[in-house]
Amino acid sequence: MIRLTTPITEEQIRTLKVGDEVLLNGRVVLSRDIGHKFMKEQKPEWLKPILENMVIYHCGPVVKKNEDGTWSFVAAGPTTSIREEPYQADVIETYKVRGVIGKGGMGKKTSEGLQKTGAVYLHATGGAGSLLAERVKRVVDVKMLEEFGSPEAFWIIEVEDFPLVVTMDSHGGSLHELVLQQSQDRAKALTS
């Protein structure tokens, strides 16, 4: 088990390999569909210091506003990452992002982006909304809440021992590619 704390250096990221189990600590920024389109098309400057050497989490949380005006996360598992495939590599390069958390894995373009910039794809257990929300210690801030709605806003959170598996590394390795290949071969055998 590897403990990582954000911000993360390129050097740290380059040591990670597919299959490594990671416990992530520190600040993480949530973004999904509208956010990725926005980041690629508008390239807002104000996001740069927020994202540099940080980790993006593909997640649309269930949130609760507390009486004192602060927010809590009630459920916060990953959403399917492949929808961000058209945007992810550009986002990683533009904002020097070191990691992307999601589920289901991503494609070739993202893999190339991970290799070029020095970043990894970290897989969280889909559906484990309550379990993962428990590891969110604090909601630091939220951006674009009005514009994007709560499931799509840029939530900035602090996590503690957030359990992840490296499924795509910065050297071109992808567990998803491997499982796809093997399952396709097996499917051929089952249907021939």
Binding site: G19, E21, D33, I34, C59, G60, P61, V62, V63, K64, V74, A75, A76, G77, T79, T80, I82, K103, G104, G105, H123, T125, G126, G127, A128, G129, S130, L131, A133, E134, F148, G149, S150, P151, E152, P163, V165, T167, L175, H176, L178, V179, L180, Q182, S183, Q184, R186, A187, L190, T191
Partner: protein, 327 residues
Amino acid sequence: MSECVIPNLTSNEVVASKSVLPAGWKADLADLKNLDLSLPVMELLRRTTSRLPQDVIQAIVKGRDAEEVGSRAFNTLNDMVRNINLADGQVTPLCQDTGSVIFWVRHPFGLSQKAAKAQIRAAVVEATKRSWLRPNCVESLSGKNSGTNMDPFHEHHPAIHFEEWDKPEVEVSVMQKGGGCENVGAQYRLPDAALGAGRDIKGVRKCVIDAVVKAQGQGCSPGILGVAIGGDRVTGYEKSKELILRKLGTANADPKLDAFEQELTKDLNTLGIGPMGYGGNTTVLGIMAEEMYRHPASFYVSISYMCWSSRRGTLTLAANSQPSYDL
């Protein structure tokens, strides 16, 4: 991470003590016109969002116990059980994607569907306010979120299917269908030359295998598949969803399809996709298939994929008794 987590749901008594219904609340079915479904449906949603059905939990545990202890597949299924315990104990959503909310209402003659619809909608709005449901209803083009789970244009979400029946009971079933698993559903038109799938049960089997391989881990495997054989483009998909309400481990009434379901489940679990697509022996938890009519020119196979967090539940209101929940 590799100790075996035992599923440990709170007792029915504890669940009932947290109910939003006033103690002793009973439905007056003699006065169907004035029946108010809003509170019992809210209670149903409180349960479905935080408690998985027993048959689903058992299937997940069985899958985990068939994986090698300490493997990624084992650990992932174990985390799923841990999440099930936690969500139930805290009454928090099992998954942050609380899904599109779909209802099936069966009722005797005399119930106003218009009134029932308004009450169910009110229950969904309130459940959203209480963070049991995430606001999941956005305008398609602008992406603007209504914030309430209400369809901003018409009244198509939550989807509510009504059916009048002869029983002196009102039954409300609900399914919370996540977007990730909805996205990996598929509809095929047989014959399909690319798959080499003809208009027979072998052809149907090829479609299901293809859909599961294409889904990989993206629908949050291990999944549960509803497979409608026939129908049209709408009725096929509609049926494939409704089929997922069936309990895992119950036999298909059609022995031919029962054998089909069991053999195909075994075959799919040799694909090696595993929980969340990490690899492993647990790719699907079950298949529910049903044969329908078709137009002679059409042969559709419609497949709905439900994630492992198969949130479904049924509320039954019978005369002079307290509402019963199967969760």
